[in-house]
């Protein structure tokens, strides 16, 4: 068994941790670093709730060995908010949402909420690449993120509202930490 020192950036903060080589990024984030906003769903890369952005690109953290995060930028849903960090989380419970997150609130795009972190990260990365999507484009973009409450209509409404066509100009749809 190999143990490694892994240095990477998590939501803009530099982290250096020891981890076993067989550990996934998902368990490192949740169990090692307390980033429980990253949800543990199917464990096979299908459901999308463990999505994180790796240098701005959505990946399944359950299918990534933690060692692969070395030297990369990892963004969880906390990294989307413009003034959010673990240190300020408690003092700023509201008012620190990205336009996309705010659109999810406005449109009631969460039922149980378990898929929401992955949905937001997938949608965020998608809107960076496609600032003016059609509803069909949005459907395809989130086809790898499952909502078992089947609340897709409002999720699509929210993403559409946050796209350049409505709520926000293309460049401001996201947070500071990637893109």
């Amino acid at each position: 068994m190999t143990e490694l020192t892994i240095a990477f950036t998590l939501n803009g903060e530099r982290r250096e941790v020891r981890a076993a080589a067989h550990e996934t990024l998902l368990t490192l984030l949740r169990d090692g670093l307390g980033a429980t906003e990253v949800k543990d769903g199917c464990g096979e890369g299908v459901c999308g709730t463990c999505t994180v952005l790796l240098d701005g690109e959505p990946v399944s953290s359950c299918l990534l060995l933690a060692a692969r995060a070395a030297g990369r930028r990892v963004t969880t849903v906390r990294g989307l908010a413009p003034v959010d960090s673990p240190a300020t989380m408690k003092s700023q419970p509201v008012g620190s949402l990205s336009p996309l997150q705010q659109a999810f609130v406005t449109h009631g795009a969460a039922q149980c909420g378990f898929c929401t972190p992955g949905m937001l990260l997938t949608a965020h990365a998608f809107l960076q690449q496609h600032p003016r999507p059609t509803r069909d484009d949005i459907r395809r973009a989130i086809s790898g993120n499952l909502c078992r409450c089947t609340g897709y209509a409002k999720i699509i409404d929210a993403i559409e509202a946050a796209s350049a066509g409505d709520a926000a100009p293309a460049g401001s749809a996201g947070g500071r930490h990637e893109g």
């Binding site: 068994m1 080589a21 067989h22 550990e23 464990g43 890369g45 399944s60 359950c62 990534l64």
Partner: protein
């Protein structure tokens, strides 16, 4: 479930990777994008003593097109194929097929070499390589050798790679002139493995008749297969939906589908006929327009 503990090696060069693989023998698994291997590890369906992570082998990321042959390094990602930028634009079939692989996260990490070496019977890329008569390039203790796609996929999740060998590249000889490609596949949900997938390439001569037709099927047997009977029947014909439908109805199909939880063997045979005809119609229309895809 966490994976069983293993020793982890991250070589920086192909030479180093080969010496590591040579020393470890059958105890080692090669990790490329990890989108097939990591779930096998965390489900503990495989428990290798060692994992050789080849993501640092930048020499395997290259793409070259010399006007005839497209050569892709084993670590070219599905996402790059899907975007079809630069020399990858030379092969629209690769682009259309890659867009159907898994979900956006699988495409971000997954690599062409990983998909080919894993050899899932329902995967898109092995069938593309089979349809286009690709050549696999493997390097091992005895040096480099090339393996035609027809000899590479030997069965369910099995290839002719030998212990200690690393798949380093794939070469696709691309036809010049009037050629069109198309993919048809049936899945129950977006991103699922195909129940049946069809890769078609149609080449037309100056008179607009077919000069060569190639069809490869995924999902209807332990490994991708070519429909040699259909291909022979459709050489030198006037392309039409009628001709394509007739050929897939008349010819014996070289597939060996099984019943499983997703579909019966009969249904897979039916899908193969319907989807092959559709793919040929689209590929021929693209060839006639000279558009490729």
């Amino acid at each position: 479930m966490p994976a069983s503990p293993f020793d982890y090696h991250a070589p920086a060069t192909v030479a180093e990777a080969l010496s590591t693989l040579g020393a470890l023998g059958e105890d080692a698994k090669v990790l490329a994008g990890g989108q097939s291997l990591v779930p096998l590890l965390t489900l503990r369906l495989v428990r290798p003593a060692a994992v050789v992570d080849i993501h640092g082998l930048d020499e395997l990321r290259g793409v070259r097109f010399d006007g005839n042959t497209l050569e892709l390094g084993a670590l070219v990602r599905h996402r790059a194929l899907e975007l079809g930028e630069g020399p990858l634009g030379a092969c629209p079939l690769l682009q259309e097929a890659a867009a159907l692989i898994g979900n956006v996260r699988v495409r971000a990490m997954g690599t062409i070499g990983g998909s080919l070496a894993h050899a899932d019977p329902a995967a898109e890329l092995p069938a593309v390589i089979r349809a286009l008569d690709g050549v696999l390039v493997a390097r091992g203790p005895a040096g480099e050798r090339t393996i035609p796609a027809a000899e590479f996929f030997t069965g369910l999740l099995s290839t002719s790679l030998r212990p200690g060998e690393l798949l380093v590249a794939v070469r696709l000889p691309l036809p010049a002139g009037r050629v069109g490609y198309a993919v048809e596949e049936f899945t129950r949900r977006a991103g699922d493995f195909a129940i049946v997938a069809v890769m078609a390439a149609v080449e037309l001569d100056g008179a607009g008749r077919t000069s060569r037709v190639r069809v490869a099927i995924a999902g209807a047997g332990p490994a991708p297969v070519r429909l040699a009977g259909v291909e022979r029947a459709l050489a030198g014909v006037e392309p039409s939906e009628q001709a394509f439908r007739q050929a897939v109805a008349d010819q014996r199909l070289e597939i060996e589908p099984d019943d499983d939880v997703h579909a019966s063997a009969d249904y897979r045979r039916h899908l193969t006929r319907v989807l092959t005809a559709r793919a040929l119609v689209r590929a021929a229309a693209r060839a006639a327009k000279g558009a490729g895809a």
